[in-house]
């Protein structure tokens, strides 16, 4: 019975995190290498792989465990880093029809040809993007206060970006825990 409680508590903890570094999700020291991450993930799999709980949990509980496991899997994949999880900043500025969308002054621009959403990189000025990337690196290391600092720098260089403000508030919420 306690195995059931353990897995539910673990799942709740994982799913409850709003912003988190992959190291926190796997419960390993920040900066650990892929082998440490593999061992940690194997431990999680032995305890929480959804297949092990098909018959022992209610559908809602199973969904919770599956979500937690699926997020831990993403964390493991990120640390393994076979392919970069954060793609290198792409040359948005060479796209003539898109140049306006990242203009640092943030002046309204003409309609775009399609309704495609835009990415982080396009939601802020290029200078802010540099700080934002640094903030992401801090988060990846598990360095929350560093991330806060970098995000504040990013907002200073692009005060209009709602995206950055919400990112900051999420990280602040995590610091508060």
């Amino acid at each position: 019975m306690s195995a059931r409680i353990d897995v539910l508590l673990w799942a709740q903890r994982v799913v409850g995190r709003k912003v988190s570094s992959p190291y926190l999700l796997l419960d390993i020291p920040p900066g650990s290498d892929a082998n440490v991450a593999q061992d940690a993930f194997h431990k999680i799999a032995r305890m929480a792989h959804p297949d092990l709980h098909r018959n022992g949990l209610t559908p809602d509980e199973l969904e919770l465990v599956t979500t937690a496991y699926a997020r831990a899997a993403a964390a493991y994949q990120e640390i393994r880093g076979r392919t970069p999880t954060v793609p290198p900043p792409r040359p948005v500025t060479v796209q003539p029809n898109r140049r306006e969308t990242i203009s640092p002054t943030g002046s309204p621009t003409g309609p775009t040809s399609d309704g495609s959403p835009i990415t982080h990189a396009q939601a802020m000025s290029s200078k802010a993007l540099i700080y934002y990337r640094k903030a992401e690196l801090c988060l990846r290391r598990g360095d929350l206060s560093g991330a806060v600092l970098q995000l504040k720098m990013a907002i200073a260089s692009d005060p209009r970006s709602a995206f950055l403000r919400s990112a900051l508030s999420e990280v602040m919420a995590e610091v508060g825990k």
């Binding site: 195995a3 593999q38 993930f41 194997h42 799999a45 032995r46 792989h49 959804p50 297949d51 092990l52 098909r54 018959n55 599956t66 979500t67 496991y69 699926a70 997020r71 899997a73 993403a74 493991y76 994949q77 076979r82 392919t83 999880t85 793609p87 792409r90 948005v92 796209q95 898109r98 969308t101 943030g106 309204p108 621009t109 003409g110 309609p111 775009t112 399609d114 309704g115 495609s116 959403p117 835009i118 990415t119 982080h120 396009q122 939601a123 802020m124 209009r160 970006s161 709602a162 995206f163 919400s166």
Partner: protein, 537 residues
């Protein structure tokens, strides 16, 4: 007690098995056959004929016999490789709703899942006859490189056959499970799965009861059929030379040559040369011809060398992706009939520096693995967290694979399969590029959420185009479908927070959700994948 079937639904042949307390038992056909041809015939006399019996209609009613349905299931009719594969079949396929291929025989229109459901139903009935009980649950295997739509369509086939498909598992992973279950080792194995229609290679780490796929790669349009075709083409050239008839435009004639080629190929696996004649060729003008042939194994190997090279290249690629050197691989498992070909085994031995493991039955091991997983999921394989040794289905002593009689040091626990996402999944962002959400070879189930925003002021809808593939530009990848999020509150650009969540479940099926987080009205949209069965996930 619930009986759960493990089914290897193959391109050319299918195999079914169940896990019992004494080992894995195969489901036999009406004449005791262990493999069941994945062939469905709709003869002019009426009715539906499946399996070995259906194969007999191949010559008399070529256009009424559906084979290789697996090559089209869940496919987008417009994909170039599908168009190419269509040139290899003699039945009629048309485009149906949601760009899916539909079989058209006389006045019947049938989806590919319907065709495959006849094969599954055939196996289900055979199992019920053999076991004397109702069978409802099943684990069905699919090629590791099967796409989302192909997986959804396979599930649909199971549903149509009245089966509750508990899980789809990848064929190489199933093979590794049958090999490694109850061995309690920590080693890296390679599974080389070269079947009738598809080719897959997976690298796994077996760590006690964990089966972690490190990387998987494949070629969906490469298999024994291609080798037969290469040989049939050479026979066709021979036919033109000696009988002065080009058989290529004549469906029945080419089918006869394909069947001859298959027999020659199998003969050459055990012999250095094949000599004889193909009789009963119905030539145009009512003549009946006989085509003599003489072929050495070397000549055959030369004909298929390109295909074999391709399998070796893919194997190198997957080792790379897994970060594993060939010498670190403790065992190379051969799966699929095409691994019986000596040149294939020779090239594998060269690559890995060790002889591949041929003690397993390449035709049956996938179904055995599926049966073990089925037993594990229903819980019949275990008692509590551990499994008593006497309950063990495939401890080394009872192993379905003759692999030494080493008793396991501890009772095996329930196996845990940790499979991988077969392809990078991404969305189209402004500018024609993609944003990757989930990487190829990432462990599944996996979930990742990214926040996007609008690119212009007062934008009230976003279209989220999803694709699979490794290319940076959207247009160079394979489109999966478009998710529409409409009725957004008009806000300045960048002000809306659109959360896009990708989840790949344990079946390898993608679920995309998008929601607008800002406006408070949390609206969600789900993706309908091209080629997938219409109207259901």
């Amino acid at each position: 007690m619930a009986v759960a079937l493990g089914i290897d639904l193959g391109t050319t042949n299918s195999v079914a098995a169940i896990a019992t307390p004494t080992g894995v038992e195969l489901i036999l056909g009406p004449r005791g056959e262990r493999v069941h041809p994945s062939v469905v015939a709709f003869p002019a006399s009426g009715g539906v004929v499946v399996g070995a019996d259906a194969k007999r209609y191949r010559l008399s009613e070529t256009a009424h016999v559906v084979h290789s349905a697996k090559r089209f299931i869940g496919q987008n009719m417009r994909a170039p490789l599908v168009q190419l594969a269509l040139t290899g079949v003699r039945y009629k396929v048309i485009e149906g709703p949601n760009q899916q291929p539909i079989v058209s025989i006389r006045d019947r229109r049938m989806t590919m899942p319907e065709i495959s459901s006849h094969v599954l139903l055939h196996l289900k009935r055979a199992a019920e006859r053999q076991l004397g009980t109702q069978v409802k649950d099943a684990v069905v295997t699919v090629p590791a490189n099967f796409t989302d739509a192909q997986r959804q369509a396979t599930r649909e086939a199971g549903r149509l056959a009245g089966l509750d498909v508990m899980r789809l598992i990848n064929e190489p992973t199933a093979a590794a499970l049958a090999y490694g279950f109850g061995r309690d080792t920590d080693e890296v194995v390679a599974v080389f799965d070269f079947g009738g229609g598809t080719f897959d290679v997976s690298i796994l780490r077996i760590h006690g009861e964990l089966f972690e796929v490190l990387a998987s790669e494949g070629d969906f349009f490469l298999g024994g059929d291609d080798l037969d075709r290469a040989l049939a083409e050479s026979l066709a050239a021979e036919c033109q030379r000696t009988l002065e008839v080009d058989p290529r435009p004549h469906a029945a004639l080419m089918m006869k040559l394909m069947m001859g080629a298959e027999a020659i190929k199998i003969h050459l696996s055990d012999n250095d040369a094949a000599e004889g004649e193909i009789e009963g060729l119905d030539l145009p003008g009512g003549r009946v011809g006989v085509l003599p042939f003489a072929l050495t194994r070397d000549q055959f190997e030369e004909l298929i060398a390109g295909y074999v090279q391709r399998t070796i290249d893919v194997t190198r690629q997957v080792l790379n992706a897994a970060g594993i050197q060939p010498h670190q691989v403790a065992e190379v498992l051969c799966v699929g009939g095409s691994t019986r070909i000596p040149i294939v085994r020779r090239r594998l031995a060269e690559l890995f520096g060790r002889e591949p493991n041929i003690s397993i039955n390449p035709d049956e091991v996938v179904a055995q693995g599926a049966a073990i997983q089925a037993g594990s999921l229903t819980g019949t394989l275990t008692a509590g967290t551990g499994m008593g040794a006497h309950d063990a289905v495939a401890t080394a002593a009872h192993s379905p694979l003759t692999h030494g009689a080493r008793p396991p040091p501890i009772p095996p626990r329930r196996p845990v399969l940790m499979d991988v996402n077969p392809a990078t999944l991404a969305i189209h962002t402004a500018g024609g590029y993609i944003e990757r959400l989930l990487d190829k070879n990432a462990p599944i189930p996996i979930e990742r959420t990214r926040i996007f925003t609008t690119s212009r002021d007062n934008q009230t809808r976003v279209e989220i185009d999803c694709c699979r593939g490794e290319k940076r530009r959207y247009a160079e990848n394979e489109p999966l479908g478009t998710l529409l999020l409409d009725g957004l509150a008009p806000r300045p650009r960048g002000d809306l927070k659109i959360e896009v969540q990708f989840r790949v479940d344990a079946d390898g099926i993608l679920h995309v959700r998008a929601s607008d987080q800002t406006s408070g009205q949390r609206q969600e949209a789900h993706l309908q994948v091209f080629g997938a069965p219409v109207g259901k996930p």
